[in-house]
Subunit: 300 residues, 2 copies
Amino acid sequence: MGDHLPVEAAATPPVLAVVGVGLIGGSFAAALRGAGAVSRVLGVGRNRKSLQEARELGLIDAQASLQEAAEQADIILLAVPVGATRQVLEALRPHLRSDTLITDAGSTKADVVAAARAALGERIGQFVPGHPIAGAEQTGPSAAMPHLYKGRTIILTPLDENDARARRRITQLWEACGARVVLMDPEQHDVVLASVSHLPHFLSSVYMWQVASAENSDLRLELAGSGFRDFTRIAAGSPEMWRDIFLANREAMLSELAEVRASLDRAEAALREGDADKLHDFLEKAALARRFWGSRSRLQ
Amino acid sequence: MGDHLPVEAAATPPVLAVVGVGLIGGSFAAALRGAGAVSRVLGVGRNRKSLQEARELGLIDAQASLQEAAEQADIILLAVPVGATRQVLEALRPHLRSDTLITDAGSTKADVVAAARAALGERIGQFVPGHPIAGAEQTGPSAAMPHLYKGRTIILTPLDENDARARRRITQLWEACGARVVLMDPEQHDVVLASVSHLPHFLSSVYMWQVASAENSDLRLELAGSGFRDFTRIAAGSPEMWRDIFLANREAMLSELAEVRASLDRAEAALREGDADKLHDFLEKAALARRFWGSRSRLQ
């Protein structure tokens, strides 16, 4: 970050408020609590049962309203659908202390930044946008785990209005969770995530939809094997969440989709022409790239 | 099969020859040997080291040439690339006993049947085409396991020329491996497999190729997560094997690809128009179909 400010003197660890105490928010709370990096955790959410469960699991100390969170917290994490960002920030703003920092875990960033600017106005400097590249098949507070972010990458897309202290503080919190922080600008984030996260989900769902809509879909599904299983696993994800992500990141999605279509056109032409060399060439490049990725990835 | 012939009287279990003693052929041998369903196993292959390994692992009793296999075996399994089918059958034919049955494990069937007709001529009745829906990430004799086919589906595409005894005998052998046998015609097999096996591999490879070819591919691959991992796992497969499968099943591939493109067009239009309802509808259908499949599949 280029600045050389001294690490802040030890003081009472901050109060954390988590808006949306599911897998993502609950794991952030659990990790920071485990690291002794927070003194108290407030949980905010619309689902009373979920908050009750989070409290029983020890993820949060108390339930709170958005107003109470704004008044009491030093750090606020938004772990809500990206489409709810503006509304939540608007509710927080009138009560927000000037030294409180807000970050988020939304899967898209350009739209979240726009929503935050609209909601926070001149206080936009208190919002440091982020996106943890982590997830799991299970959701909800019971799926939260202190180690979810260990070794994972967190993308922060800081704003010009974020001062060095704000950037450093949010970075340190994620590092306390065991994560590695990468800085990008929001538009670059959205294009890269459209490519490696949103588009695979879109394509997997389109494919699954086509198979399930075929006249003899029962027979097809009966004969589907392990390749099908892996290729379609992500298509089982939440329709609401992914619809919102696709719409929030529409421009980057459409642009990346055009690139994939261009590759598909070339591969299909090689198949149609029976061009064994071209087919082999593209399959080999794909296989080598995937094997290399697999050999380096912590996810394998 | 509609016939009511009595089960054949107990006799010396047959001699099995496996052409291509890798994962598929080796597991067939190991399963039948474990079930006491074969008296002796001959291994045929071009790779001496691989055959030696198969012998040390106890998968085969002895190495043999194609001529020796034809002369000595009661049952011959071809576990070779589909493109090699005709050549192998032509080498077997002059030495083939009239009561020997041949089956195969090729991923495509219409082209294999055509190759078998060309190679075997009037002896085509001795060939019962098959395709085990089973595989594993590892290959070679050391990956072979007696339980590979347990609970898995084997597709047989019997020919009009196969008599009831031939059909029953090959069915019984697969059932002795713990598998479930399903009968289809070769063309239907190829369309269904294009849909649930070959096309996912093609699409996964096209996508992987596009990501790896992007200008900022390093950054993309660094930020790829678990969805990317699952969606692209099959793209790491053998370029040679998949090129041959795609070419062997080209017509069905192109026809199924047109169907997937039609679905992609509709989903992309919904995204472009920002039609949240349409997007949700297609994502929900895909998610429900995938979850239902997952809840019933033995592969999950």
